[in-house]
């Protein structure tokens, strides 16, 4: 199969994936990729089938009903608008912060960078809960049920995507280039515009598209903060399927959303092609201490923005978890182990957490295994069909996936509804693209010669994978494992369809607790959210500092 390599364009000589890697392991890889693709495609097609074949009879009734309703188009417009606004706000905040963080060296910089990333790894339900405390009745101001609250929460959640992606591009810019431009007579503004901007623009665009996609299909945040009055296509799918029992209508909406997601993803892959991936090249360190007052002010503003947007809601969460009546106390934490009447939960929050941890680690392990194998196949053919389809679950709404799994996993020949398998399968499918995204750049950056020299020295294909490839991409694998785990732990949109009332996961438990008026439930939800913050934050710290070293986590969108 080696001749395949000859047909590939000869860009990035020396850094393209090894031709020798194709072999025994890759055949396994191709099987894995096909299996994963099937697992993603099956639920989606089950949902779409329901749209045109409700109750076992072909018919366009649902399609005409949904497409013929002005409300649907209003909903689509509103969904796109909120995603655009959220995306614009995220870029407006994220790019300057990324610039400051990459340009200036100051005490606590990496801590700020980590803090900005924490919300991204948190379950969306926890973000929703955090903002429900800040923007709730007893918070700063009441904004629940308004788009303002949702936009702020989306900015908080997605800030990391912009900061990390743009930050990586910025630190890839050799400061000598800018200095050279200055030497040749360019003003600082001209130098930034003509040298810095063109290099970073693709990264900004790519991150903006990803943020748009996340906001477009955002679910947990809107369910938690929308208060029922604010809804998007994603939430409407859920409402139709689980409230109105209108599965075919939900299927039509899933189809509409799928078209939008695929369009967005193709824009993303177009932009990505223009971006040079070169994590092996280390640019010269271009950061320095801030010198002027203006530079210090920029640093203070950036740090302040991160603290306000990402720090404050999390701090509020902890404060609220300790609030008991009018004073402070640990009662909310102590009650986590007990079932409280009126909270809508039939098991105690700690059991829900424990169950979540088990499910998430099983799902994440499977996702890691499949994701790494899939990434190896994709590394051979970047931009291929597998690459695109594997990105789908990242963009395809979680609710579509959940509904689809419920439809195919709930038929007599294969009825998994009563078993505990559906939830981990859904979590795994959501986590695989994250693992692939984390591992892929490292794989692509591996010099082909590495594997080839291994082969020359007599290593077999498994040996090459195990002894050469895997150790070389170890930090990326750690990062993928961490990201996959937090994604599984926080999964809500698909889980909410599949979970049984008697065995909720932690995010579902939080949503249930907060949807009921009982004060005890509110306290428990806060404490449980705090535990998830600590868990996910801990995983992020481990990935950021232990595994990825000083480069930090490469989100690589």
């Amino acid at each position: 199969m080696n001749f395949l390599s000859d047909q590939r364009p000869a860009g990035h000589q020396g850094f393209r994936p090894s031709a020798v890697k194709m072999g025994h392991v890759s055949r396994v890889g191709i099987i894995v990729v096909s299996a994963v693709l099937l697992m993603i495609a099956l639920p989606i097609s089950a949902v779409l089938l329901r749209a045109i074949r409700p109750d076992g009879v072909w018919g366009a009734e649902a399609v005409t009903r949904i497409l013929g309703s002005p409300r649907t188009w209003r909903l689509i417009a509103v969904t796109v608008a909120q995603a655009l606004v959220s995306c614009a706000c995220t870029v407006a905040v994220g790019v300057p912060v990324a610039w400051v963080l990459s340009r200036f060296r100051f005490y606590g910089r990496s801590l700020v960078k980590t803090l900005a990333t924490v919300p991204f790894v948190l379950p969306t339900v926890v973000i929703g809960a955090a903002f429900a405390t800040v923007l709730g009745p007893r918070g700063l101001f009441e904004a629940r049920g308004t788009w303002l609250a949702i936009v702020i929460a989306q900015v908080c959640f997605n800030l990391a995507v912009v900061i990390r992606t743009v930050g990586a591009a910025l630190s890839g810019v050799d400061s000598n280039q800018e200095a050279a431009a200055r030497m040749l007579g360019a003003s600082p503004f001209q130098a930034a515009r003509r040298v810095l901007l063109p290099t970073v623009l693709p990264a900004i665009a790519a991150s903006a598209v990803v943020v748009f996609l996340f906001c477009f299909t955002s679910f947990g945040v809107i369910v938690m903060l929308g208060g029922g009055s604010v809804t998007t296509v994603e939430v409407e799918i859920w409402t139709r399927a689980t409230r109105q029992f209108d599965i075919s209508g939900a299927g039509v909406l899933c189809g509409i959303q799928l078209v939008a997601v695929i369009a967005t993803l193709s824009i993303h892959s177009r932009i990505s092609k223009r971006r040079a991936v070169s994590s092996v090249f280390r640019a010269r360190r271009s950061d320095r201490l801030p010198r002027s007052v203006a530079e210090w002010a920029a640093v203070v503003a950036a740090v302040g923005a991160v603290l306000m947007i990402c720090g404050l809601p999390i701090a509020a969460l902890f404060e609220r978890s300790l609030r008991v009546g009018t004073g402070l106390g640990l009662a909310n934490w102590q009650h986590l182990g007990s079932v409280t009447a009126g909270t809508g939960l039939s098991i105690d929050p700690l059991s829900a957490l424990w169950r979540s941890l088990l499910t998430a680690s099983a799902a994440a392990s499977a996702a890691l295994l499949l994701g790494v194998l899939a990434a190896r196949v994709i590394a051979q053919r970047p931009g291929g069909a597998a690459d695109r389809i594997l990105l789908l679950p990242l963009g395809v709404s979680a609710t579509t996936l959940g509904l689809g799994l419920l439809l195919i996993g709930g038929r007599p020949p294969l009825d998994l509804r009563g078993s505990l398998w559906l939830v981990p399968i859904a979590q795994m499918l959501v986590a695989i693209p994250l693992v692939v995204r984390a591992v892929l750049p490292a794989l692509q950056a591996l010099p082909a010669s590495l594997g080839e020299s291994g082969q020359l020295l007599g290593a077999g294909s498994i040996g090459r994978f195990w002894r050469i490839e895997l150790p070389s991409i170890r930090s990326a694998v750690f990062a993928g494992a961490g990201l996959g785990f937090v994604a599984c732990l926080g999964e809500f949109g698909a889980t909410v369809f599949l979970v049984r009332a008697a065995s909720p996961t932690a995010p579902v438990a939080i949503e249930r607790l907060l949807s009921r008026p009982a004060a005890a439930g509110f306290g428990q939800a806060m404490a449980l959210s705090c535990i998830l913050v600590l868990l996910c934050g801990g995983v992020l710290l481990a990935v950021d500092y232990l595994a990825a070293g000083d480069e930090g986590l490469d989100l690589a969108f």
Partner: protein
Amino acid sequence: MSSSRFRGSSRFRRSSGSIRSSTFKRSRIATCCALAGCILMLASACSSDTSSTAKPEQDSSSKDEVVLVTYDAFALPEDAAAEFTKLTGATIKVVATGDSSTMLTKALLSAGAPEGDVIFGIDNTLATRALAEDLLQPFQPKRIEQVPDSLRLDGKAGEQLVPIDTGDVCINIDQEWFANNGIEAPTEMAQLADPTYRDLLVLASPVTSSPGLAFLIGTIALSGEDGWLDYWQQLKDNGVRVRPSWDDAYYSDYTVSGGDRPLVLSYASSPPAEVVFSDPKRTEPASSVMLDTCVAQVEYAGVLAGAAEPELGQKLVDFMLSPAWQKALPLSNFVFPVTDVELPEVFEKFAPGATKPLSLDPALISAQRDAWIEQWREKME
């Protein structure tokens, strides 16, 4: 083959400098990776162990547990439940799955692989949705003859859905608020669209909540199939607020619970509930009821098809019609019993039964319900 290998080796020379950082002979790293892998595998093995040993919830409910699927706001009458345990040896485990429409949809989505044995809380507005699918297992309910004919369902439906309680969904009025603000409280449905009562009403959504759907049906009964959408347009123009569930509307928005709306969609039996649950103790309820807005609601129970404990399930449904359960219902769930049992004093005093509640032909409801909800959403959302 050979050409590619040759090219490969030339590449080796070019890139050898940059690989030095990722030396591949560090066996320590390999060990590390292997170890991490092992831990992950172990974790997954552990959890898959538990998932295989922790059987589906219906299996784990052994002979002495019957699982009751119901809505969030349901409160198990503890004493009656204890009596059921004494009688059968089985304890009742309550699994609440959201508001009543949510509960029903969830049950429909898991029809055949149910989350429990008995479902309670399907009401007359949604009954046909439950009957259309193979959700319930028919059986002969024992005490059904004690239920008035008007409440019973005919034919096979009567073997699937057993009426357990009734209630009237009505607009409640915060009397104190109206007295303090010097406004006369409304008495008729039409007045709710009057500018005098602008921004004062909070309702529950008919999409997600059964009282909300009952009220929607009440407006159709009153304004007719041609006029009801106009009425809702007037309500909308008059600043009506719609909450996803009754809980939200009553506990967050109603002035009696500390909210900002003195008119709320609730039950005719809410005033006695205010007296019973008041803190500090009240002797008189804070709310009164707009009797002209009342819509009759019947709540049914049934045994879920595929239940792990169908016999126990049937026993529980039968027990729900026993005097013990029926007597306990008013003060635990603030609904009226369907059998002839004595009402608590606070009910006699403060829960006026609606004299002529609004209602529609069940067949019409069944045929039009989903279309009405769709039209309502089009108009209001």
